[in-house]
């Protein structure tokens, strides 16, 4: 949004008001949806989908990401990759832990470890 002119700003102000109304409605909808017994999985999905829509509105219009320079998109893509890797590593750790608890990755009985610490 670097080449902003006076007329552009005036039209943007109208958009900001519309986004504000959408965010306020989204907030009320997410609170109302939490009072409906949707179950754990569906309840989490609904809450996070509404939050993602609201977050996209803030990023897209208030932070001007809907019309930004390429280099910022690349910075954010790189950040998103690192976040996914970080979350993925944590989820793999969790699955590994569950696997050990369920005996999937358990060491067979009678197995002599190569290293005492194993």
């Amino acid at each position: 949004m670097s080449d902003t002119h006076h007329e552009d700003v005036q039209s943007h102000v109208k958009t900001y008001i519309k986004v504000f109304v959408a965010l306020a409605v989204g907030t009320l909808v997410t609170v109302l949806a939490s009072n409906i017994h949707l179950g754990i999985v569906l309840g989490i999905i609904v809450a996070l989908v509404i939050a993602t829509v609201k977050g996209s509105l803030v990023a897209g219009f208030f932070m001007h990401l809907s019309a930004e320079r390429k280099i910022i998109y690349w910075v954010l893509v790189l950040t998103a990759v690192f976040v996914v890797v970080m979350m993925g590593l944590i989820m793999f750790t969790r699955q590994d832990q569950q696997g050990r608890q369920q005996g999937i990755f358990a060491v067979p009985q009678g197995h002599v470890p190569a290293h005492p610490a194993e």
Binding site: S2, Y16, T27, G43, G55, F62, R69, I72, M86, M87
Partner: protein
């Protein structure tokens, strides 16, 4: 003889990035902030999936009405923040002062409400050590609160003494408001995810 070194590209765009330097700088900073809060959200997921039971925020006394009001307060502050920048773009300094003043006031209201919430917990003997849920609740909302305070310090400076730059270098001052706004919107964005995660998600 003294020679003043002018910092380049603080109001004009660099030919290679197409951005003034502060804007690229604040986006790189926000990228690191995404990793910081991403790590905490990952921690929440790990703690929740690893626990046999997990509380629902309302069931253990978190106030959904207060948190909803706080969400709306931060959304209003985001609108007034972007309107303060738009006011400078249309050369209306008076409007800028008003909108920025409301933004700072919203920050104060948010913190006061959060303070009431914390005080209520402490009065009832609820501390970070009470449960895993409360530990992650205080960690995430506490860190977010520190970010709100940081943003308010910057915004108050730009509303008060820092606003003198409007007289000497209006374009650079407008850019300062834009990058301060990017940070403030990010703080709002984090709360948009914190609110359902801590207050609304069903327990197990």
């Amino acid at each position: 003889m003294s020679t003043a070194i002018e910092i380049p590209y603080n109001s004009t765009e660099r030919p290679d990035t197409g951005l003034y330097n502060a804007k690229l700088g604040v986006w790189l900073f926000l990228a690191s902030e995404v990793m910081l809060f991403g790590a905490l959200f990952s921690t929440y997921v790990l703690l929740r999936t690893g626990a046999d039971t997990w509380e629902n925020g309302a069931q253990i006394g978190l106030s959904i009405p207060l948190a909803t009001i706080n969400t709306l307060v931060l959304i209003i502050s985001s609108v007034t923040m972007v309107m303060s920048w738009a006011s400078l773009k249309t050369k209306n300094f008076g409007k800028y002062k008003s909108y920025m003043g409301v933004t700072i006031l919203c920050g104060v209201i948010f913190l006061v409400i959060k303070g009431f919430e914390y005080a209520h917990k402490f009065e009832n003997g609820i501390w970070p050590s009470t449960s895993t849920f409360m530990a992650i609740y205080f960690t995430m909302t506490g860190l977010h609160g520190l970010h709100v305070i940081g943003g308010m310090i910057v915004n108050t400076y730009l509303w008060g003494p820092g606003a003198k730059m409007w007289q000497t270098d209006p374009e650079r001052f407008t850019n300062r408001i834009e990058v301060a706004g990017l940070y403030w919107h990010f703080v709002d964005l984090v709360w948009i995810f914190l609110f359902p995660t801590l207050y609304l998600l069903p327990g197990k």
